[in-house]
Symmetry: C2
Subunit: 431 residues, 2 copies
Amino acid sequence: MKKINVGLIGFGTVGSGVVKILRERKSVLAAKIDSEINIKKICDQDIHSKRNINIDRQLLTTNADEIINDPQIDIVVELIGGIHPAKEFIIESLKKGKSVVTANKAVLAEYGRELFALAADRGKSIYFEASVGAGIPIIKSLREGLVANRFKGVFGIVNGTSNFVLSQMSTQNRSFQECLKEAKAKGYAESNPSLDIEGMDSAHKLILLTYLCFGKFVAPDDVFVEGITRVSLADVNYAKEMGFEIKLLAIAKREGDELEVRVHPTFLSENHLLSSVSGVNNAIYVSSDLAGELLFYGPGAGQLCAASAVVSDLVDLTQGIKAGLFRPTLNIVEDATIKKLRKIEDFESKYYLRFTVVDKPGVLAKISGILGKFGISIASVSQKERFKAQVVPVVVITHEAKEKNLRQALAMIDRLDAIKEKTVAIRIEEV
Amino acid sequence: MKKINVGLIGFGTVGSGVVKILRERKSVLAAKIDSEINIKKICDQDIHSKRNINIDRQLLTTNADEIINDPQIDIVVELIGGIHPAKEFIIESLKKGKSVVTANKAVLAEYGRELFALAADRGKSIYFEASVGAGIPIIKSLREGLVANRFKGVFGIVNGTSNFVLSQMSTQNRSFQECLKEAKAKGYAESNPSLDIEGMDSAHKLILLTYLCFGKFVAPDDVFVEGITRVSLADVNYAKEMGFEIKLLAIAKREGDELEVRVHPTFLSENHLLSSVSGVNNAIYVSSDLAGELLFYGPGAGQLCAASAVVSDLVDLTQGIKAGLFRPTLNIVEDATIKKLRKIEDFESKYYLRFTVVDKPGVLAKISGILGKFGISIASVSQKERFKAQVVPVVVITHEAKEKNLRQALAMIDRLDAIKEKTVAIRIEEV
């Protein structure tokens, strides 16, 4: 039986999960693939902490070069996360003729273009199933299962922390801060949760989904990103009143021959399947021209979920290496029907707007006048409370409006004396 | 560029979809796989009807042997459906050293054990992504994406016709017969829809899902199958009142070291994602030990959906053949922790029971007395209307009860004078 040697860099939560699975499922995996996946070396800065797993100490090293320079190692699994030295480890591994498995969305989003090009140049592969949606086989599904499809759009709930906070606000009627605190207490949010709740983690994953669906590698700066920190309980409740849920969506969608790539809180119809995705779960909704509208759902994080994906990548690579394939992965091909990225200013959307106004005659007329001036027409208005001369919320749903026009209109409206807080604007997406 | 020759047997809806996709996506597919998938011959009984696709008439034949005996053909795609002669074509193709792609759940469910064994024996593969969930890459996901997982259960809405009928009953408040008529009018049901609404189509697909998840090939006779023909609008509405939807579920689940394999109408909590799957869509909910609870959703039928899956199978096989792999597929390995199939009599479930009784004193006492005698305890009772001495429905929700006990109890209850119709019993599944 062919033995494939693997070097693991990063022996943290996911890394020890991978070792555990490969050990516990050794015989069944061998029977499935007619090969043995052998962990030959494990590198971590900390090789002394206990990890609930018995490991031959000979396997451990603090020096990644012992993996990267070992000619007997076929595959390097990078699970340290972050940009440096993960990027350098991946580059050196590829240069030494190894394929790479990683769960690192940040380094792939930032440097994927150069890393994938290097892999192709060296005839090696980078597998990254665990980087989006943890154990959900979304990358395999997009790349292989839907290989013949042209995509219209991909809409993902890809950050469990944000989804947990928004679901809790919606179901428990509690504030953003309270729900974030709960997420931290439950271990769903890190002590510094900004990468999650500010949307950057979702943006990283969206860059990978966009690459898979459209063959375009979008730079992080070209992704419009807005997190959930400004979503108030009031907005969540008004949304529900009107039959919507608010979700942090990562969206890449085709508009004619342009592509929009954006992450932001979104009003979604309560009847949409994505609205039923609660807690720390993830889901990716895909609109394709042949297979139709598909949804892939599952836990968005967790030791064994991510490790499950890493092991499936190892199996795929093993099959390829065993067969002597030049590159086992399918090539990613640019969708030639898409000519360019749409600029943020040109995005068009319906909007939920919440104005905080002093309730006196003529305010609504002023607001609607300014909106009209910028070509924004109103689909519905409701004034939530009425207390003369006091500050009250006014909720407006618009028809399709250009982002640029909306921004200009809101800038003007927010300068009115009667407007007492910065107006809240949330996009309504008809997925 | 390596050219892989394909012979297509069955030039109907899906077959012409496959030809269309391979033609329209020729260059992008070639770029993705560094190979050309070439349709060398197409066999159909009818080679004269127009199919909205221009085809070189030289490609057409009515004689399948021209494909099966052509040594230049690497892959045979069987899309004629049904048992005979599909089974014989698959066997002959494998014997002639070809791999096979099929969308034929019936022949695989009935003869899969022998067909897969023959393929393995000949070092060839049978790919069948289109046979369950059309374009949803569920087979690839279970087999490859979740390769390291041990499964607890799989719960599928895998028959679009039945799901359409049940969704329409629920949302339109119309009878089974009316909704079935609508399904026929819309082309969602065949003129003889019994294979769909009696549950056999779901059972065929369930046999394949069971094989993929647990490595056991269950005989059709060992699957408990109950269709939706006896689900009344009253039951659908009572279900909704209590916070449930009725879905036709195909279930394979582990109970200790036993496996239950069954298809039947099921009360599902309205909050479960499967309850939100409406119309002709399909969804497969998977409970796995590493990747957790996953859902795969999409259209359950359609020319291009199924053809999308067939083409992804062709791509996988092409990659394998190009690499000279003995067999590109992963082996299916029996889950050794499962010792046997659970007998139907031993199934345990909560039940929804609807008794049709003459409303007179003491009837409920008699019913609950008999249930109690068989160890079935009642979680709730509600008498829906009250008209003295008239026939009224009494709805009971039970705690967990053994199928055998329930059957005996209902047989006795249905013999009571006060019971005016056969009692309706629907399982409640806590997925």
